[in-house]
């Protein structure tokens, strides 16, 4: 297995310079995510306007995979409807777990850079934490999310 499949340039770049790495205060929706295995913690903030994601940001600490995944997620979802966001979540989840092998990763745009994670089962939770946290925010859940 080539490490570069996991740590692609785009992942390294988004880890070093995460996009939308800030707090939105006050945010329409927010949620906290926590991965107890590696100690990753992040908060996701969402502003909704007319049923669409008007602004999306995150903050926290985590490994390169979790930070890059969150950064890519915020870029991918701005302007998307809530329904589109949930659909993309399903697609990303399938890509990370290798559940949907017919899927063309190119349809996911930059998010396809995370496809290498499927070969590292212990790292899937890192990449999916931000997405679970986003869904929790959309569901307006008050309780913190964990990937355990």
């Amino acid at each position: 297995m080539d490490l570069k499949d996991l740590y692609q340039d785009i992942i390294v770049d988004h880890n070093k310079s995460p996009r939308n790495f800030r707090v939105i205060s006050p945010a329409d929706l927010e949620a906290q995510g926590y991965n107890p295995l590696c100690g990753d913690k992040l908060a996701v903030f969402v502003n909704i306007r007319d049923g669409h994601i008007d602004d999306l940001a995150f903050q926290g600490s985590g490994c390169a995979i979790s930070v890059a995944s969150a950064s890519l997620m915020t870029e991918a979802l701005k302007g998307k409807s809530e329904a589109q966001a949930r659909e993309l979540y399903e697609q990303v989840h399938a890509m990370l777990t290798g559940a949907d092998t017919d899927q063309d990763p190119l349809e996911l745009g930059k998010l396809a850079a995370l496809a290498g994670v499927r070969d590292y089962p212990s790292r899937v939770k890192c990449a999916s934490l931000c997405w679970h946290t986003l869904i929790a925010a959309l569901d307006k859940q008050a309780v913190p999310v964990t990937t355990e």
Binding site: M1, L3, L6, V12, N15, C38, G62, C63, A64
Partner: protein
């Protein structure tokens, strides 16, 4: 029972010596991701030498039956092997009597036994239990459960930035309500060797029992429970080159005698009726149900292995390797070792610049180097150092300077991958 001979390497404890010991471990002779395996995760679980694997196999193929039960030959052989291992443990930690050696599922099982049985008998609302800031969760959570059941108070010995406990704070904590002190001998997350003899002596002066968590000490240095004068000493087989699923609770007889049974079942009773039971004698009274017999046999073989090399020799070798590794790691830019106590065992927790430990672990694994990453079941330690996690390289008797060199090479590669 005939076993393969223990290694009798030359006594200089140098690299050839360690290579010979490494050769006794079949699992280490393999490639991971196309590179020869370097195993630096013995603090999580060590590997097994051929002699341990053979002892367990021999037992399974020739001697297995239930212990303490049958009149038939196999039952007698199994009982002899099982009780023979108990005597080896007694000798290994210099307990006074084999009846002070209780087989449990592991360190966690042993501490839970004490927290439950000792707690039931001796701990009530407002009583105080002293632990330290550097404990493994296994020596925190059982006491918290006891606190919830009884209303006892948990007091925590603080530590400094080097990862050394504050002895004066401990002395100030000891008081008329203190019922037990539970302390790690060696910290799994930091490597600190606590001066436990001194801590035990202070408690003894006030008649307070002390439990020592020896999981990270027993594989790496001579341990003499009578010299330490502790009341309980707990450790795991799988961290000392024996099988998983078995461990030892040593308890001073006078104290064990007073403990109510932990679990009920077969082997722990002499007579059962629906009105009244007569409990068995020690240690069987605390060993309900069929034990992990093959695991205990393997543990006995692991002790033979360790004693064949000699614990003082192992201690000296690992201290030398720790010094080599510490110097090598500190040469890496931005690398910071977490746990810099004056007296340490072979545990190197570290962080490196902005690289997350989880990424370090994956990148090292890709080069065949196995380290632990995460909170090491010691979240209060991570909180103390304000870190979500560390990477941890931990040494075993089979590690060599070449292993450390591979670790250093791997860490230099982390930088290239993460940019």
């Amino acid at each position: 029972m005939t076993l393969s001979p223990n290694p009798q390497p030359s006594v200089n404890q140098g690299e050839a010596w360690a290579e010979a010991i490494r050769g006794e471990f079949p699992i280490l002779d393999q490639q991971v991701h196309g590179k020869p395996l370097v195993f630096l995760d013995s603090a999580a679980s060590s590997q097994r030498p051929r002699s341990v694997i053979d002892a367990v196999t021999w037992y399974e193929e020739h001697d297995h039956a239930n212990v303490h039960r049958g009149v038939h030959t196999l039952s007698q052989r199994a009982t002899d092997a099982f009780e023979g291992a108990r005597e080896k443990v007694r000798n290994f930690i210099n307990a006074e009597s084999a009846s002070e050696i209780v087989f449990v599922s592991g360190t966690t099982g042993g501490i839970n036994l004490v927290a439950s049985s000792f707690g039931q008998k001796f701990i009530a609302q407002g009583d105080e239990i002293i632990i330290s800031h550097m404990e493994h969760h296994a020596n925190i959570v059982p006491w918290q459960l006891l606190r919830e059941r009884t209303g006892a108070v948990l007091r925590v010995i603080p530590m400094n930035q080097a990862g050394e406990l504050d002895y004066q704070a401990y002395l100030d904590m000891l008081g008329p309500r203190t019922r037990i002190v539970a302390l790690s001998h060696v910290s799994n997350a930091l490597g600190t060797i606590n001066p436990v003899k001194q801590y035990v002596a202070a408690a003894k002066n006030m008649g307070i029992p002390v439990l020592l968590d020896g999981a990270q000490a027993v594989p790496h240095m001579p341990v003499d429970v009578r010299e330490l004068e502790c009341d309980f000493y707990v450790f795991s087989s799988h961290k000392m080159y024996g099988p998983t699923g078995v461990g030892v609770l040593y308890g001073r007889q006078q104290l064990l005698d007073q403990l109510p049974p932990y679990q009920g079942g077969g082997d722990m009773i002499l007579a059962v009726s629906f009105d009244k039971n007569v409990y068995n004698e020690l240690p069987y009274r605390l060993e309900a149900g069929t034990p992990n017999i093959s695991g205990v046999v393997g543990l006995g073989a692991a002790i033979d292995f360790l004693q064949g090399i000699g614990m003082p020799a192992i201690e000296k070798r690992e201290q030398d390797l720790l010094a080599y590794a510490t110097t090598a790691l500190l040469d890496i830019p931005e690398l910071r070792i977490i746990g810099t106590a004056a007296h340490k065992a072979g545990v190197l927790s570290f962080v490196m610049g902005r690289a997350h430990p989880h990424d370090i672990g994956t990148i090292l694994d890709n080069q065949g180097v196995a380290v632990r990453t995460g909170h090491h079941c010691a979240m209060p330690v991570m909180d103390f150092f304000k870190l979500p996690a560390t990477a941890r390289a931990s040494l075993g008797v089979y590690n060599t300077r070449a292993d450390i060199d591979r670790l250093v090479e791997g860490l230099q590669h982390v930088r290239e991958v993460l940019g």
